[in-house]
């Protein structure tokens, strides 16, 4: 049998994702790709492979999987309950997945998007230069029971690594840069925007996330008469009801609502991973500070591989140890970026 991952069961939002398809904005196709791009980098670091390999993105719920050959896997992003043939697995770690074994990934215990990476990457055919499903554009489809996904050749053999991943699963502060439409909002409204606590609404998906303000919504001087213009992931549209709507990876390419600002790309995973009910605050930062933060985040991504450590395990205690890792949470939440 060819090298493949069999899907026995899948949650409603499991899709193949990679870094997406840049270059098609002029044709109305947004980049798409993983909702939490940092999680892709973490998976690549754990498996010691290139960051452009495709993985499975699992929105809120995983599934049941089986490998046709011995494989390596890594689990990143929103922590989920996971086991192989009943033995609990540490999250943010790499593991061997023997041929025929059952990998079961349950609901997220925090955050929204979990990722299952395989050594060699998911090797479905590329469409317009990428493997990402872009459901809004009609590219690809959510996975379903019975699907078989080809997996690329894996040059690596090592597993049992763990990564102290940045905690971005519990909301908190998100940095925003001003754009050309920010002055459409009066200064006192911008000040109130920064003081407001927002709650991630139940309305949210890979296209965008609605943030419900504590208190009244925000109104621009321009009202709803602005021309449709180019929009980018991270843009914060203020829709008719005054609630901000943060555009995500799979957003449309133009929009006609005024934008109060844009979330920094490096803080976008924090918005993506805020589960409904999670609180967020939005703070404007000057462009220089935004660039510096983005640069630090890029450097941190580059050095992920050096921050990977071995899961310390005693063969006699392996099951207990792995579940201990899961319960204690290998997500330390002490990272700066």
């Amino acid at each position: 049998m060819t090298r493949a991952l069999i899907v026995h069961q899948a949650g409603p939002g499991v899709t193949v994702q990679d870094l997406g398809r840049p270059g098609y904005l002029a044709y109305g196709l947004s980049r798409g790709g993983a909702a939490d791009r940092l999680a892709l980098c973490e998976g690549a670091a754990l498996l010691g492979q290139a960051v452009d390999r495709a993985a499975l993105e699992m929105a809120g719920m995983g599934g049941t999987f089986e490998a046709t050959e011995d494989m390596r896997i890594a689990l990143t992003g929103a922590p989920m309950r996971a086991s192989i043939d009943g033995a609990a697995l540490a999250w943010n770690a790499s593991h061997p997945l023997p041929a025929g074994a059952r990998l079961v990934i349950g609901p997220a215990t925090a955050g929204v998007y979990g990722y299952l990476h395989v050594g060699g990457g998911i090797a479905t055919p590329e469409i317009l230069g990428a493997r990402s499903a872009h459901l809004a554009a009609g590219i690809g489809a959510a996975l379903a029971a019975g699907d078989t996904l080809p997996v690329g050749p894996d040059r690596g053999t090592d597993t049992g690594f763990v990564l102290d991943a940045e905690d971005r699963f519990t909301g908190g502060e998100v940095r925003v840069v001003a754009g050309y439409q920010t002055p459409m909002f009066p200064d006192d409204e911008l000040a109130r925007f920064e003081e407001t606590r927002f709650t991630r609404d139940a309305r949210g998906n890979r296209m965008g996330v609605r943030l419900a303000p504590d208190g009244r919504g925000f109104a621009s001087r321009a009202g709803l008469t602005v021309l449709s213009e180019a929009i980018v992931p991270g843009d914060i549209q203020v829709t008719g009801d005054g609630a901000p709507f943060v555009l995500m990876a799979e957003c449309q390419t133009t929009g006609g609502y005024p934008r109060i600002g844009a979330v920094l790309p490096c803080d976008l995973p924090r918005v993506a991973q805020a589960a409904p009910g999670t609180h967020l605050r939005l703070r404007f930062v000057p462009p220089e500070e935004a660039l510096a933060a983005e640069r630090r985040a890029a450097e941190a991504r580059e050095t992920l591989r050096r921050r990977v450590t071995r899961l310390v395990r005693d063969p006699r205690d392996i099951r207990d140890l792995l579940s201990y890792q899961l319960i204690s949470g290998v997500i330390a939440g002490t990272e700066e970026e």
Binding site: P22, G23, Y24, L25, A26, Y27, G28, L29, I127, L128, A136, A137, G138, I139, V177, A178, G179, Y180, Q181, V226, L227, S228, E229, A230, I231, V232, G234, D235, Q252, T253, T254, G255, R259, A262, L264, P265, P287, A290, L291, E294, R295, A298
Partner: protein
């Protein structure tokens, strides 16, 4: 022909603004105009030719050109200076339309249960449904921009009595190939999506063909006539392939 801000006598457009951390938007106006649309298309072509350091990707919307910059490698302010110099080099509002434009004729069924809002839209414009369909079918429209969804054209411009607002409520879903109308424009939908625009016609034309050699069919500057067909012809053409019976010829 530059839009002028009368309050201070200075030219308000074209102007350069920031979008997010890594985007520049060159705006040629704050409302749709033929000259602004030509300026945006010509300026994008010029940026693509010059390919300034750090520019990763460009696009246009109705009257603006967007540039995405690799902000970690190139200072967006430095790119903005280069863009300003290019802007100052000529009168973009007088630019010609793009080369290689084509005229498309796309068979369209107006009204019926397939496009249930023709009568409503016609009413807003003060016309009978028959007169409305006749007028739209008799108007050669231009693709002003591709955007929102893959390959999706915004077409204009209809006569002034078609300056009808979007509907208050959202239509939950229009099908692929739906022809919808608002504010003197038509949009032909490339995906099935909710919309505030009114669904007046239905075509069998697929604008986005991910697996094809030419995945995006229409280009800005192309012109389109939505030829009326009856139900029987519509059903037959729909089955005939992704063009839904559409034809295309070069505009000379």
């Amino acid at each position: 022909m530059t839009d002028t801000d009368r309050s201070n006598g200075k030219a308000a457009f074209p102007r350069i603004g920031r979008v997010g951390l890594d985007g520049l938007l060159v705006s040629f106006g704050d409302r749709l105009s033929e000259a602004g649309n030509r300026a945006a298309l010509a300026f994008r072509a010029a940026v693509e030719r010059e390919s300034p350091e750090g520019v990763e990707e460009t696009s246009t919307s109705l009257v603006s050109t967007f540039l995405r910059i690799d902000a970690l490698r190139t200072d967006p302010d430095a790119v903005a200076q280069q863009v300003q110099a290019l802007l100052d080099s000529r009168d973009w509002y007088g630019a010609d339309l793009p080369q290689g434009r084509r005229l498309w004729r796309i068979p369209t069924i107006y009204g019926t249960d397939l496009a249930p809002q023709l009568a409503e839209a016609a009413g807003e414009a003060g016309l009978s449904p028959e007169a409305a369909a006749r007028e739209i079918a008799g108007t050669q429209l231009r693709v002003q921009t591709i955007g929102f969804a893959p390959g999706q054209p915004y077409l204009g411009e209809l006569p002034e009595h078609w300056d009808i607002p979007r509907q208050q409520a959202l239509t939950e879903r229009v099908p692929v190939g739906a022809l919808v109308l608002a504010i003197r424009q038509l949009v032909l939908f490339s995906v099935s999506t909710p919309t505030g625009w009114r669904h007046i016609g239905q075509t069998g034309f697929r604008l986005f063909r991910p697996e094809a050699a030419e995945p995006f069919v229409l280009r800005p500057g192309d012109e389109v006539i939505f030829d009326p067909v009856d139900r029987e012809a519509h059903d037959r053409l729909r089955e005939s392939g992704p063009d839904g019976g559409a034809t295309c010829e070069p505009i000379r």
